[in-house]
């Protein structure tokens, strides 16, 4: 399909987008270079603020939203009832749940997840899953998200989340 260029609406650049005229002192560059080198020199003397991630881990606040954890009740059973509330609330669609019937010896429990996966690459760590959970079965630790070699390793399964 050909496009008729004459009919296309071409706008002139807006006035604020045009480069303003520089003063002569800026145009000779040397004072500005000196100024920049002074800043570099000052920062060179200071203690660095960066850390060697992932070998070094940053210190984070108690309320930091890091990797997820699935909690357990007093008997050591997972609290999750596979209600899909977290998966429903998740804006990144990173939670995949499949449900199954709970073992008969778990008193008062009907449904547990057989698959519970969080794709840590898709997750935006917003904490909506924690907010949506009616059983306080999912919470966020202050563990900083880890780094792996393959995509598959970023998908955390049931075991990993329960022991996180």
């Amino acid at each position: 399909m050909s496009v008729d260029m004459k009919k296309m609406d071409v706008h002139p650049p807006r006035p604020e987008m045009r480069p303003s005229r520089l003063s002569w002192i800026t145009r000779i560059y040397i004072p500005m270079i000196l100024k920049g080198m002074l800043i570099s020199l000052r920062e060179f003397m200071r203690k660095p603020v960066t850390i060697q991630y992932p070998e070094q881990k940053p210190k984070v606040s108690e309320r930091f939203r890091g990797e997820h954890r699935l909690t357990k009740d007093a008997e050591g059973h997972m609290k999750c009832v596979a209600c899909y509330m977290c998966a429903t609330a998740c804006p990144a669609h990173c939670i995949n749940i499949e449900a199954q019937a709970a073992p008969p010896e778990w008193d008062g429990r009907d449904k547990i997840p057989s698959v519970f996966e969080i794709d840590m690459l898709k997750c935006i760590y917003c904490g909506y899953c924690v907010e949506a959970c009616p059983k306080e079965a999912i919470e966020m630790t202050n563990k900083v998200p880890k780094v792996y070699q393959t995509r598959q390793e970023f998908i955390y399964g049931l075991n990993k989340l329960l022991n996180n």
């Binding site: 209600c83 509330m85 429903t88 009907d110 009616p134 059983k135």
Partner: protein
């Protein structure tokens, strides 16, 4: 029937004199909450949520048990009515376990809906809740006693529609619950209707149990193909294009609100053992190659077309038109599943004719009895040049008659969606993949002569095409489409 005039929320309406107030309201798009009322069951009047105000009455009345009268003035809103509903909701939730996260009904639960609309935002009940039994009622139905509100819809269903009377109410007061009569089991072919009519999560389907949350499903209307009744159905699919369940749609002219268990559960064949691509002499081929091979074979003299009663009117007509123009000497015969006796219940009949479109076959192809037609062909002894076999019957097993026909045909061109017995049986030269009734649109004529159209409810799971498109491809109209799919 004599008509009466009444006012509902200030709107003048005219309804037949034998209607109840709730029916008059629902027919005039005025919503009245209800649990125990069901349009196709008798009136129980025990849930008390359908309270409406009637001018001249000292207190709200239950709309489901109140007959309409001339000059009646009904109000479905107002302080009295709202207070009554709020009270009813609070009592219903006293012993309810509120296990919505685990409950399959949540998302389509009337308790949730009406609690949101009419209930209070917190409970005032601090005492211990009554815990009731959990049971397996039958092969397809499970029972969670604590969730039950004892509306007795299921009890009335088993008495009035399925007729077995398996269910009853035991104990009194807040301990009352639904139970099976001793020695009985809810195993009739209509048992899963109890799951549908249960307004809460007390009766749940063991086939859908924990499969999905209902808000993750999307629904499309369809027509059941499993017998000649042609129940109107709703197919629920998940995001992965998998059918999760089939439930009835109300149509008073066909199936009221009911559907048999067989029709609900027979959808596995959509996802299993499908013929993915065209095959020529047992090898995968492109549509272009398969078309050429099929056209060569179909022009043979002494050809016969054998069309099953599972095909849509459109498929039958298009094949008939194609054959009359390409090879007019081809004779057309029909066949189908064997016809058994009808299963008759007090409120529902399951047809013994397990073909959806025998009546359509009579209208389109002029074949009155599909299996008699097959017998007539089987009785002949002449060799058949090419047999065009349009099957589309799920889980089809070759009968002795069909076997004899297959044996004396030199070539078989098969149109089917499954890799079943027919494909494995020796002399299928060309097999063209079709689609199941869930994946294509068309129409069936049910046994009362009602033509019902339906649309595809899902994306095709194979590279198959509906028969109408296959015929178009054979004619050369749309070869390129099939080639790439």
């Amino acid at each position: 029937m004599k008509q009466v005039n009444l006012k509902i929320d200030g709107k003048d309406v005219t309804v037949p004199a034998d209607w109840t107030v709730i029916k008059a309201c629902h027919q005039n798009d005025v919503d009245v909450p209800h649990y125990c009322y069901h349009p196709d069951l008798s009136i129980a009047g025990n849930c008390r949520i359908c309270m409406v105000g009637v001018k001249g009455m000292p207190r709200p009345v239950v709309a489901c048990a109140q007959p309409v009268a001339e000059g009646m003035e009904v109000s479905t809103t107002g302080k009295d009515v709202e207070e009554a509903r709020k009270g009813v909701m609070e009592f219903l939730l006293i012993n309810h376990p509120l296990d919505c996260p685990e409950c399959d009904q949540s998302g389509e639960c009337k308790l949730q809906d009406y609690s949101y609309d009419h209930g209070r935002d917190h409970g005032r009940f601090h005492e211990e809740k009554v815990r009731k039994s959990k049971a397996t009622m039958g092969p397809h139905v499970k029972y969670w006693g604590s969730r039950c509100i004892v509306c007795t819809r299921c009890v009335r269903f088993t008495e009035e529609v399925s007729g077995g009377g398996e269910l009853g109410v035991i104990y009194r007061g807040d301990r009352s619950e639904i139970a099976l009569f001793p020695g009985k089991n809810l195993d009739n072919p209509l048992s899963m209707n109890n799951v549908d009519i249960c307004p809460v999560g007390a009766l749940v389907s063991s086939d859908f149990l924990f499969q999905s949350r209902v808000w993750h499903l999307h629904s499309n209307p369809s027509v059941c193909a499993d017998c000649s009744v042609g129940c109107n159905s709703r197919v629920d699919l998940d995001a992965k294009n998998q059918i999760k369940r089939i439930v009835p749609r109300q149509n008073d002219a066909v199936n009221k609100s009911w559907m048999c268990d067989h029709g609900r559960l027979s959808f596995d064949y959509v996802h299993e053992n499908r013929l993915q691509k065209p095959k020529v002499h047992g090898k995968d081929a492109t549509w272009k190659e398969a078309r050429r091979a099929a056209l060569d074979l179909l022009s043979a003299p002494g050809s016969v077309a054998l069309i099953s009663a599972w095909n849509t009117n459109e498929a039958m007509q298009s094949i008939k038109n194609f054959l009359s123009s390409e090879n007019p000497s081809t004779r057309i015969f029909g066949y189908g599943n064997t016809v058994e006796a009808d299963l008759v219940f007090p409120g529902f009949t399951i047809s013994g004719d397990k073909n959806p479109n025998c009546a359509g076959m009579k209208q389109v192809l002029g074949i009155g009895d599909a299996n008699a037609s097959l017998k007539a062909l089987a009785a002949e002894k002449d060799s058949i040049g090419c047999l065009l076999l349009v099957n589309n019957i799920p889980n089809f097993q070759i009968t002795a008659e069909l076997k004899s026909i297959l044996d004396r045909s030199q070539n078989v061109v098969l149109l089917d969606f499954a890799t079943g017995d027919l494909l494995r049986y020796g002399n299928v030269a060309v097999a063209l993949p079709t689609l199941t009734t869930f994946e294509k649109s068309g129409s069936f004529v049910n046994r009362t002569g009602l033509t019902q159209t339906f649309d595809a409810v899902m994306e095709p799971v194979t590279y198959g095409m509906p028969e109408t498109e296959i015929v178009a491809a054979l004619r050369g109209d749309r070869v390129a489409v099939g080639n790439q799919r």
